[in-house]
């Protein structure tokens, strides 16, 4: 179309582009997405204006006249947890007739918006970007799953309610942050402390009495499912089913650019903090008396007990610190992906995959397995559709049980 330039178009007024940004969540209800910016350019590439979606997800922009335009979604403004159904359609070309309004559809689905950042860039740039995402995701999973792994190692309990500790940490931080208006830097430590205390209480008032009754492991597993359902729906009742962000969530200054990858401050904080905490945990496990006692109990409970270690106290400490770490992991996950009532349960299977891959019952196993799983999940989007990215990690879980059931760092006798 040689005559497609706006200058050649009729001088009608009221030309407009509009649409609604929404997606259907897992329960099937339509959820509007606010705050997404859409830049509209004319056929010569000059910026006409920027439309921003409102609370109801609608956006509209008046156009200077009929003609051909392109509309591009600004990927950084797409909230985490939502993505385009087809990332290639981040830019749409359209033409408008005089006096008409042109509806545009950007079909959204649940997902990780990170792949939008890489749309249109080369494979290597995408891979670098995804590796950073994968590292971040892996560190978050690691923090959440260390407790899961150590609790299994010391008590044999497969705790299906561990994901709920992640949710509770994130939701409590949200309550203090948004509900009471505390800064996130203050709200987060309070939430972590409460989550840790809840973990301790969980052990003291539920699991220790059950161990004393020598309740079987399968019975305990079913009880943990009951607890998981109870807590999850309690959170849904109090927190409602919406995804919500922390107050300081959108505080974006200029990102850090390393080569092809731009890392926003939120991500830098997550990665640095998570890495520091995990190094701290490793030092405690490796260097301190307490860490030695933990490893001893996890290796052989009876032998540890007979050599004078207070096994119940060690288990109590593992529960408290494991729950605190899960709470922190939940807050970082919420910072990354927004807070949702079943975020922990969604993460639980990847946590299981990670600890099984690394070796159930070991602290380092959880760490190694989590980073591999995190990387694998993100990098697999280079090959498969983003909505299928968890499938790869879960297939790895099945595969590792075929070839090395005890995991990378596990010992053979553990699988029984």
């Amino acid at each position: 179309m040689l005559l497609g330039a706006p200058a050649a178009s009729a001088q009608g007024d009221g030309e407009q582009v509009n649409g609604t940004l929404q997606y259907r969540d897992a329960e099937g209800s339509q959820i509007a997405v606010a705050g997404i910016e859409i830049v509209v350019r004319d056929a010569d590439g000059n910026e006409v204006g920027t439309a921003v979606s409102g609370e109801d997800g609608t956006f509209s922009l008046d156009l200077p006249g009929a003609g051909d335009y392109t509309a591009t979604i600004v990927p950084e403004t797409v909230p985490a947890g939502v993505t385009l159904r087809n990332p290639d359609r981040i830019e749409l070309s359209f033409s408008v007739n005089a006096g008409r309004s042109r509806p545009l559809a950007f079909p959204l689905i649940e997902g990780d918006g990170s792949e939008l950042l890489t749309a249109g860039s080369s494979t290597w740039e995408s891979a670098a970007r995804l590796a950073v995402d994968g590292l971040k995701f892996g560190l978050i999973i690691a923090m959440c799953s260390i407790g899961l792994s150590l609790i299994f190692g010391t008590t044999g309990l497969v705790n299906f309610a561990h994901g709920e500790l992640v949710t509770v940490g994130a939701v409590l931080a949200f309550a203090f942050n948004v509900g009471l208006g505390l800064h996130l830097l203050l709200a987060a430590p309070i939430a972590i402390l409460i989550t840790a205390a809840l973990g301790g209480a969980n052990d003291r008032f539920l699991w220790r009495p059950l161990r004393d009754r020598s309740t079987g492991l399968i019975a305990m597993l079913v009880i943990s499912i009951g607890l998981s359902i109870l807590v999850r729906y309690f959170v849904l009742w109090q927190f409602t089913g919406f995804r919500r962000s922390y107050e300081q969530y959108s505080l974006q200054t200029d990102g850090l650019t390393i080569g092809p990858v731009t890392i926003v401050p939120r991500e830098t904080i997550t990665i640095v903090l998570a890495a520091a905490v995990l190094v701290g945990v490793a030092l405690v496990v490796q260097r301190t008396r307490l860490g030695k006692a933990m490893r001893a109990v996890s290796d052989n409970k009876d032998l540890a007990e007979s050599s004078g270690i207070d096994v119940e106290r060690v288990i109590q400490i593992i529960w408290i610190s494991g729950a605190g770490l899960a709470g922190l992991g939940g807050i970082l996950f919420g910072l990354d992906q927004q807070v949702k009532w079943d975020m922990g349960f969604d993460l639980l299977l990847l946590m299981f995959a990670s600890v099984t891959l690394g070796g159930l019952g070991t602290a380092y196993g959880a760490l190694v397995g989590s980073i591999i799983v995190g990387m694998f999940v993100q990098l697999s989007t280079l090959v498969v559709a983003p909505e299928l990215k968890s499938v790869g990690a879960l297939l790895v879980l099945v595969a590792i049980l075929l070839v090395r059931p005890q995991g990378i760092l596990g010992q053979k006798e553990r699988i029984g």
Binding site: A26, G28, V158, I218, Y233, L397, V398, L401
Partner: protein, 330 residues
């Protein structure tokens, strides 16, 4: 508070199609867990095989509906074999993790946009059941005692509960046979069974397939009762499996009628609590600040979680269970 309506709705829910497909899923789980000791947490995956197996041939290829029944059952057998090969040698808790992961893989794949032409993607599949309902002998509204059912509901109920009765009959024949005694021997002590020359691995695989077939039938009844197949967590995700376990444990694991009675009571109790809370709320016994009308559906599940924990703590054999017949090591 209209107690008559509350009880009536509770009882009615207990015989509706929902209770029938829960009973079928729980019969399958009873064969897996109750009789063989396999902690299969992927029953929702088997249900998905049945539901999609039924719907896809009609939706994507326009074949008659009864071909879908074969496809659903075949898919469940394939899923059982694929699942069983890597996992049946593992301990129960590993099996639980892998089966739940496998069921989620299935659901993610059915939900994938790339397969939209075949599976309907995240919208699922509607309008595959007309062939089945063409056979419906009922029309209008059917009264059974105080209950009214639509013709569609009645037809799904007849078929669903018919399958439940067949399932109970088959389970009885299997468990009372020498084969069933070997199955229980594997549950009690796998090493001892192996020492007597029984192939424990093969027994477990057969159990996984048979229980999975009941899961597939449950998925078909679910699909027919809703008239749609949705890849949502509540329909074909882990919560479905957990609830089927809750129903089984309520009735009693390792007991012939345990899954059926458990499912009826489970669904009836959910409906009863729902009605009770809604009426109490409407009558202002519960202030609006604590529970609003829309939150009642959520509260039920909080109570369900509490109930499951209390049941496992104080009566792990369920209402009609026998402690000697339990795969739980309590």
């Amino acid at each position: 508070m209209d107690w008559a309506t509350i009880f009536e709705n509770g009882l009615k829910a207990g015989i509706r199609p929902e209770a029938a497909y829960f009973a079928l899923a729980a019969i399958g789980l009873n064969i897996h867990f109750g009789y063989t000791g396999l902690l299969n947490f992927g029953q929702a995956g088997f249900m998905a095989m049945g539901a999609y197996g039924l719907a896809i041939p009609v939706f994507a290829y326009g074949w008659p509906w009864w071909i879908g029944v074969f496809f659903g059952l075949l898919a469940a057998v394939l899923f059982a074999v694929l699942l069983g090969v890597p996992t049946l040698r593992l301990r129960a808790d590993y099996l639980a993790i892998v089966t739940i992961a496998a069921a989620e893989i299935i659901r993610f794949i059915f939900r994938a946009t790339d397969l939209r032409e075949i599976t309907g993607g995240s919208n699922g599949i509607n309008g595959f059941s007309s062939g089945f309902f063409d056979l419906n002998p009922f029309s209008g509204t059917i009264n059974i005692g105080p209950f009214d059912f639509t013709a569609r509901e009645m037809w799904v109920m007849i078929v669903g509960w018919g399958l439940v009765l067949i399932g109970i009959g088959l389970t009885y024949l299997m468990i009372e046979s020498p084969w069933g005694r070997v199955l229980k021997a594997v549950r009690e002590d796998e090493d001892a069974a192996r020492a007597l020359g029984k192939n424990a691995y093969s027994m477990k695989m057969q159990s996984l397939i048979i229980g999975g077939l009941f899961g597939a039938l449950a998925g078909m009844i679910l699909a027919l009762s809703q008239g749609s197949v949705q890849p949502s967590p509540t329909d074909l995700g882990p919560p479905k499996t957990f609830f089927a376990y809750a129903a089984l444990i309520l009735g009693g694991t390792g007991r012939l009628w345990g899954p059926v009675i458990g499912s009826i009571m489970f669904i009836a109790l959910l409906a009863f609590t729902d009605n009770l809370l809604r009426q109490a709320q409407a009558a202002d016994y519960i202030p609006e600040e604590i529970i609003t009308g829309t939150e009642v559906g959520v509260i039920r599940f909080v109570l369900l979680g509490v109930g499951l924990m209390i049941l496992m703590l104080y009566r792990p054999q369920g209402l009609f269970g026998d402690k000697r017949e339990m795969a739980f090591d309590v």
